[in-house]
Assembly symmetry: C2
Homo-oligomer: 261 residues x 2
């Protein structure tokens, strides 16, 4: 097939990627939102995922650095504000740090990314590089995993609130905020790729970009599983007890029901 | 000399670069603000310099894409707002287009950058690449030509208002706005490089960055001189009369006193 897909068929193909590759299908996700993670496993997840959160505004800046269209830059910049905050608005990274606070981490430790697994950092930086190097329409397409995000966020909010006593509404603020932010962004990006793909090759490139992005997310959960479920923590990566606030509460499991090895 | 300079000596060395290399020393600048440029030469200058204006927010985004320090990104992002605008604020590029409007250009033609000289585009993209690739402190230092900008802007505002009847306060809005923006930015960048250079090698790298940036500016004026004063317009570059608004006023010289061949 080398014919240009209709916008409808193209959108369906983009959405189809989520059904087979989005990280809501990953066993770590199921374990996390199902309340099967130990406190330490939730810690490992939040600590590593900080790297992803922190990379997102950088990949958005990398994208903007390549855009000659001022109107597109003016549209895109709110994504940086959403994560970094702007003026009085603290932003998504700050909300993520409220989560790591609740998990007992020292902020400087989290922000240093010293305890994150290399696999995590490689994956998120691959995303920054992808956006810096690929054709613009393909770079935009890589953000389209946000099409699939609201359902995972809803699942995560309800699942984590139900199952973990160290999680409350304040801690879940990041995900609640994304419920409204992600659809705005994915609507824009979806319209952009539909309007700007002129060849089947570009459309296929966009579908591959969504697969790539799913891989970025999936590989982070694979690494977490290896390190903190299988227990094969890589050299240099965080070990339970490290990086805690000076006055950290003692380790706790709360309602967390299991601590698989 | 391999000893770390004192902050005072380092600042003096950075400022010294301006005295010998900043483009206020260029013969095209003297001709422009002295009222010696023809209408067409002012057009060529504004058309080409649009490329520089348009590159600045992209280089700032390229910088931000590399910064892991959220506080620094939150500080830096106002530079993108200054140029691209944000919300109701139209931004510096819009103000530049008011200048090219006054010079009779069609906006689409200006924004397309089709008529700009390759030398201009090579120079400004070199700046984007420099900021994307050099050590962060060196990338910050490359913005320090703003230390020298207010005096050239003041000279340009008064000189152009005096000598060209197609220039009024509205047209000079870009430069007037930069009189307050540039010192804020250069103060921050100067303090940043003074605080963050830990070796003489880094300090020398910063001084070289200011030289590099002066070269970026200087080479643009050299290209203008070659093309539009010497009259050796490169193939593909704008020729007087091209890219005008449909209802452009007829070419005019106004108070412009000369059109050196």
């Amino acid at each position: 097939m080398t014919d240009l897909m209709t916008p409808k068929a193209f959108e369906a193909a983009l959405r189809e990627v989520g059904k087979t590759r989005y990280h809501d299908l990953h066993r770590f996700h199921k374990k996390l939102h199902g309340g099967q993670c130990s406190f330490e496993q939730v810690q490992a997840w939040a600590l590593n995922r900080y790297c992803y959160q922190e990379a997102v505004p950088r990949k958005d800046a990398a994208f903007m650095s390549r855009v000659h269209d001022r109107a597109l830059r003016r549209e895109w910049i709110h994504r940086i504000h959403d994560h970094d905050g702007f003026g009085e608005e603290p932003g998504g990274i700050e909300r993520w740090l409220i989560l790591t606070d609740a998990l007992g981490f020292d902020r400087d430790y989290v922000v240093s990314r010293k305890g994150a697994m290399s696999a995590t950092k490689f994956a998120v930086e691959a995303y920054v590089h992808f956006v810096r190097e690929q054709p613009l329409v393909v770079a935009v397409a890589s953000s389209l995993t946000e099409l699939f995000a609201p359902s995972i966020h809803r699942e995560r909010i309800s699942g984590m609130l139900e199952h973990y006593d160290f999680v409350d509404d304040n801690v879940m603020a990041y995900f609640k905020r994304r419920l409204s932010q992600a659809p705005r962004d994915s609507d824009f990006a979806l319209e952009y790729v539909k309007a700007n793909c002129r060849t089947r090759q570009e459309q296929d490139g966009c579908i591959d970009a969504v697969k790539f992005k799913c891989d970025v997310l999936w590989s982070q959960l694979d690494a977490l599983w290896t390190g903190y479920v299988d227990g094969a923590i890589p050299p240099g990566a965080w070990r339970p007890g490290e990086g805690m606030k000076k006055k950290a509460r003692a380790g706790r499991a709360g309602k967390s029901r299991a601590a698989a090895a």
